[in-house]
Amino acid sequence: MDIKTEVLIVGGGATGAGICRDLALRGIPCVLIEKGDLASGASGRNHGLFHSGGRYAVADPEASRECITENGILRKIAPHCIEETDGFFVSLPEDGLAFRDKFLQACEKVGIQTTLLNRDEVLSLEPELNPNLLSAVKVPDGAIDPFTLVLENARDAELHGVKILLHSEVTSLILDGDRVKGAKTKDRIRGEEYTIEASYFVNATGAWANQILKLVGLRIGMALSKGSMLITNTRLNHGVINRCRPPSDADIVVPNDTVSILGTTSIRLEDVEHFEVTPDEVSLLVQEGSKMIPAIRETRFIRAYAGIRPLFLSEEKGDDRAISRGFVLIDHAKRDGLQNLITITGGKLVTYRLMAERTSDLICQKMGRNTACSTHSNPLPGASRPAGLRERFKQFSAARGEIVCDCELVPRKEVEELLGTEKLRDFQDILHRTRLAKGTCQGGFCVYRLLGVLHDSKMLQGDSNKILKGFLEERWKGIRPILWGAAVKEEELIEYIYKGIFNF
């Protein structure tokens, strides 16, 4: 199967999915290729903070301005992916108030609305906060569901004729003079190899950007930084909690549906595929997080995970956080004389749409076309669907059918509908598209039930023991760093159940 298209986008994260939707809405044919599932890179392994821009207001007003503008746009086009919780920049006694005053000024300059709250006011909104806090500044932060965001972008693109190839990897690029002629690709499940020819190539592989560029002998000044996060069993905060001080490690707690997420760390590394959360990081996250929310010291965690940030080195600085969080858009025609290759990397989830717009503008310019972007006013397909915790609980309360995942209340019906409508290729694909296995037991109890559902609907492909084993190995990686207290007890029970299943 060889494919020919106008634009080939490599990388199915928020950026790649955003670009193919943008191009599709402009009527430009394109193909998206992703080596895993959608959102299997940084887009599915981040903190989920729907930035107001407050975090960058003091150090990087430009990135901050981008955030607040996109923040406003996404509330309109993707309301079902966002929980409008607001965020609080909390000043603890050891932080003093000097930074807070700078912060307030910087926010005003950038155009971020702030409200200064005294101790009692903020404690009445967030009772779990450290009661010794001095004050807090309220900003329009929120929580974003990155999976839905990416999936909905891809879905809309598909509705507009885009072809999306998942579990398929670009393995080499074919050069023809000063142009890239095609990409050699490999289907990672079936092993098939084929070529995709295109007039333009977009490298939207985030942290993998240099790996693609290496295929044509190029390289950009980019560093990789690992950020680790911890997920609590229950949600501790209503809004996003930030420390009101220059950005540092472990100073944000983002609420996310049923849970809260503590993060992040920042550790340089070379390998973009193999990394894990270390005990030191866990201690740091708990220690720093509990300064803002004391209950974190005793609360139960259900998983640890990490993601890799690509950091664009405009100039070398000591601390990774001082490096611009803004994105870079590189026209390799200008930079390296390679006429039809573009790299887009860096940035934030929150700025994915802007990144896609700029990239698409550049492609249009190269094509000599003059079609305007419409993604800022064109809502995503599921935009009217009700979202959120309460809604799910309400549905569960009203009409309870068979529930597959007890912890996150995922009904069997939802799983069956998903299996009926989407062409899923991998077991993990199902987990990316539901909240299955995201709760207290992390799939310990529901995943073997899921296999039953797959079996009943005759969709179980391959050796189910192998599938289960693959899942358990991935799960173990996330669980091992937080195994203490109640989590150990539950793990013993789950281990016992699986020993039974595997007949040990």
Binding site: F393, R400, A486
Partner: protein, 399 residues
């Protein structure tokens, strides 16, 4: 901000579902998702400021069996109760629930006019009216009032001793099962104790069970100082209703945070627990008449939750010739006022079916239980004579 409810800990739940395996309601009704889901599971979905959506929460009967099954110590029934309180606070309680939980206010009147009151309670028309207007199920017999009340009887009763006890008889016993209280007094006297009655009101458990924390707390705040008075003047307190006992010993401090309740709890005993303590010290009057009765004993949920074993069952064994079997069944299904409610009647009866069948297998002449709710339900389900074990003990004492 003041925390409106005590802090509870659903975090330690390991999702094992042992609690759901023992829950009598989820056994019979698919409408109730079971303690694992309704308690620690749902807790992850509840947002303090948001209105409740879990309308099934008031199906929890409050039996505490889940708490006893949970090896991780999750206070499941408490989580349910708190959620129920929030739900009913928001939704408002029907007049029916007010009536069912405030019987202590009008029971003395019922007692005073018992001939008329009982006729009315028995009348088909009244029961039909109660059923259709108030949604109190007409298949339930409403308890009869007795006259004089226990308190009135006690006034005319004299016994002096240097050993003194305080007695919390409970409002139902006072007006509807006077002989239970009399028997308690008589047994204590046979053991040389002079009984005093601290002033008291309904313990509040019907309100608590209906999610009315405020009302329950008010009664607790009334009762505790009075009971504390007895305790501080050196008296131990006994109760003959395990539900009142459960309320005083556990919920007053645990859920309702009533000052002084811990001290009261330390000196408050189930009547048979008290007698068993006497026996262990060699001080129990065991001068029992021979009996040829064949009885079956049912342990109420609120006795189990007291964690004192089955003292009545132990003591009854001391009566020569008396044969008593232990009924192997969990929860009678009445759940205080639960089973009177039209929309819950079927669930209540279905839960009780196990118990009725277990009794049927034993074929006793008489059934015994320490809780008035269980006694009502067993009468309703089996038509047998049902007494408090203290009545049997009193009858066996040679006077």
């Amino acid at each position: 901000m003041e925390k409106p409810w005590p802090k509870t800990n659903s975090d330690v739940c390991i999702r094992c579902a042992a609690c759901t395996a023992v829950c009598p309601v989820s056994r019979v009704s698919p409408k109730f998702p079971g303690p694992k889901q309704a308690g620690p599971g749902a807790e992850r979905f509840r947002t303090p400021g948001e209105p409740s959506v879990d309308q099934w929460i008031d199906l929890c009967i409050g039996c505490h069996l889940c708490d006893m099954a949970c090896a991780s110590g999750v206070n499941i029934s408490e989580l349910n109760l708190i959620a129920k309180a929030k739900y009913t606070d928001e939704k408002g309680r029907p007049f029916r629930d007010w009536l069912l939980t405030h019987t202590y206010l009008f029971s003395p009147l019922g007692s005073l006019f018992s001939p008329i009151a009982n006729l009315l309670l028995k009348s088909g028309t009244i029961r039909w009216l109660a059923d259709s207007l108030l949604k109190i199920d007409r298949r339930r017999k409403l308890p009869r009032y007795e006259s004089p009340t226990f308190r009135q009887w006690f006034k005319a009763h004299h016994f002096n001793s240097h050993k003194k006890m305080a007695y919390f008889y409970g409002c139902y016993t006072n007006t509807n099962e006077v002989d239970v209280a009399k028997a308690t007094v008589e047994v204590l006297e046979a053991n040389g104790f002079e009984v005093t009655l601290p002033s008291q009101r309904c313990c509040g458990i019907p309100m608590l069970g209906n999610g009315d924390f405020k009302g329950a707390r008010k009664l607790g705040l009334w009762n505790v100082p009075s009971l504390l008075n007895s305790v501080r003047s050196g008296l131990d307190i006994v109760f003959s209703s395990t539900s009142c006992g459960h309320m005083i010993k556990h919920e007053y401090s645990n859920l309702l945070n009533i000052p002084g309740s811990e001290e009261v709890a330390q000196h408050t005993f189930d009547i048979f627990e008290f007698l068993r303590n006497l026996k262990e010290g060699g001080n129990l009057n065991t001068d029992f008449r021979k009996s040829s009765l064949r009885a079956a004993y049912f342990a109420p949920c609120h006795l189990k939750s007291l964690g004192i074993g089955f003292p009545a069952f132990d003591i009854l064994q001391l009566i020569p010739g008396f044969k008593v079997d232990y009924i192997a069944a969990d929860c009678c299904g009445l759940g205080g006022t639960f089973g009177f409610k039209k929309e819950k009647y079927e669930i209540s009866e279905e839960i009780g079916r196990d118990l009725a069948e277990a009794i049927d297998r034993l074929k006793p002449e008489i059934v015994l239980s320490d809780c008035e709710g269980c006694r009502m339900q067993i009468r309703h389900l089996t038509g047998l004579k049902v007494l408090h074990p203290i009545q049997i003990l009193r009858d066996a004492m040679t006077r």
